[in-house]
């Protein structure tokens, strides 16, 4: 699966990298970035879903395949 942040919707709340540092990191302005190009195994699905839920802008999505 691939985790994607919609850069237009992201407003830098920082919930993703605060709650799920395994999959996300902060840039120098405090905006979220996915690590490893966003490509993660099934074992990380729960973490990815946590970030999707936590984002107040609904800016994070999981693409299958």
């Amino acid at each position: 699966m691939r985790v994607v942040i919609d850069a237009d919707a992201c407003s830098g709340n920082g919930r993703c990298y605060s709650l799920v540092p395994e999959l996300f990191t902060d840039d120098e302005s405090g905006y979220g970035q996915v690590v490893d190009g966003g490509e993660f195994g099934e074992g990380q699905r729960e973490l990815a879903e946590k970030a999707v839920r936590a984002c107040p802008e609904d800016a994070i999505s999981i693409e299958e395949g």
């Binding site: 407003s11 605060s18 302005s29 936590a54 802008e57």
Partner: protein, 402 residues
């Protein structure tokens, strides 16, 4: 949704309601949500309680403007950045976001921790304190002064000017204008010499960093002072509110408090739940720039919309326990810091201030309760909510200053 524009008795008397107790606030936000996703109140203001409606407003700053929502009075300043719209707004946030990003806050943490510790030490040995007047009020002002490289000894003067500007806003009552104007000029006259001095001799602080911009990042005094004064109006009283509410809920939930003290991983979830339940700025306005529809309700250009963030934060569709603290739902997000391009610039700093206060308070005062006979007071109507006082009693800490 045919009746969404109906005037409700609740809305008509919003200003007359009391916001003082947690139960009253719960009743008010529930009533607002039940009045409809979008409804108009006497005077013409549109209230938006629907989560998708609020997100639509946040995501479309071209349709919903921030220009003119904060009056500068007669000061020669621009309220940068939250009184400015895109595309100009982007320039300011590009400069300011990195100055308050988490990694910058990390670098300041030790200094900010010492300030929290010193305030707690000042009353820990006494066995009682007013957690609002002795901690929640002075702390964010000390933090502002040190972040901006200003003398922390000036704290109480600054608290006085800012309190006056917020509590005596002419937007609340026209007759406040004189007192408001006096305080706002005093704050301006206090800040201006520092801005001028730091242009000559920059220090290692945020004010110097703002002033240091050159080329297209160069800032006029009008802009720099607008940033400083906006930080004071948006970043002090709100943190006072958040810290006061945090200690209020911790004081009245000893089981929750003991769980958090025993397991530090619960500190941040507890902070998120307090922020969700008690947003210090519970409603936030925008001005409609062209005819639009929100949740199917037509709204005309020039009208004002008020986003009811507190109601969105208590949506029963999102939270199992909308009106109470439940650490298991702390990862579901909230809109206390707004959203879209105007998301609170100071959110990372505010969260850190709350955490440092909680940690330093609990290190010295793990057991405490609200003093008998406490009657909560909250000024309302107001743009921001905070407890005026929170008397706590506790076993005196050994080694604290009595």
């Amino acid at each position: 949704m045919d009746d969404t524009s109906a005037e409700t008795p609740m809305a008509a008397s919003l200003a007359d309601l009391s916001m003082a107790t947690a139960e009253e606030r719960t009743a008010i936000w529930s009533l607002m949500a039940s009045a409809g996703p979008v409804f108009q109140i006497p005077g013409g203001m549109w209230m938006v309680t629907d989560p998708a409606g609020v997100q639509y407003i946040h995501r479309n700053p071209d349709l919903f403007s921030n220009v003119g929502i904060i009056g500068a009075g007669e000061l020669p300043i621009r309220y940068v950045p939250s009184g400015v719209d895109p595309p100009e707004h982007r320039r300011y946030r590009k400069i300011l976001d990195p100055m308050l990003a988490p990694r910058v806050v990390n670098a300041m943490e030790e200094e900010l921790r010492v300030q929290a510790r010193d305030l707690v030490s000042s009353f820990a040995g006494r066995g009682s304190c007013d957690a609002v007047k002795e901690l929640a009020v002075p702390y964010p002002t000390s933090v502002f002064l040190s972040v901006f490289g200003l003398p922390v000894d000036d704290r109480d003067r600054l608290v006085h000017w800012v309190e006056t500007m917020i509590e005596k806003s002419p937007q609340l009552k026209p007759e406040f204008a004189e007192e408001y104007t006096k305080a706002s000029w005093e704050l301006y006259d206090y800040l201006l010499p520092f801005v001028e001095a730091k242009r000559e001799n920059p220090g290692d602080d945020m004010l110097s960093a703002i002033i240091a911009g050159d080329g297209e990042d160069a800032m006029s005094n009008e802009e720099v002072l607008g940033i400083c004064i906006l930080f004071c109006l948006a970043g002090l009283d709100t943190v006072t509110g958040a810290v006061g509410f945090m200690l209020f809920y911790l004081a009245r939930n000893p089981e929750l408090r003991r769980r958090i003290i025993a397991d530090p991983s619960l500190v941040n979830p507890a902070i998120e739940e307090v922020l969700r339940l008690e947003p210090p700025a519970p409603m936030f306005p925008r001005i409609v720039t062209q005819d639009v529809e929100i949740c199917g309700v037509p709204i005309a250009a020039g009208d004002r919309v008020m986003m009811c963030l507190a109601a969105v934060n208590r949506s029963a569709e999102t939270y199992d326990e909308p009106n109470g603290i439940d650490l298991d739902q702390a990862d579901r997000g909230h809109v206390t810091f707004g959203g879209g391009v105007h998301r609170c610039l100071g959110s990372h700093l505010a969260r850190r201030e709350m955490r440092l206060v909680m940690e330093e308070f609990h290190k010295q005062i793990p057991e405490y309760e609200i003093a008998e006979g406490f009657e909560p007071e909250i000024m309302w109507p107001s743009g921001t909510l905070h407890l005026r006082s929170l008397p706590l009693v506790f076993p005196p800490a050994i080694g604290g200053d009595a």
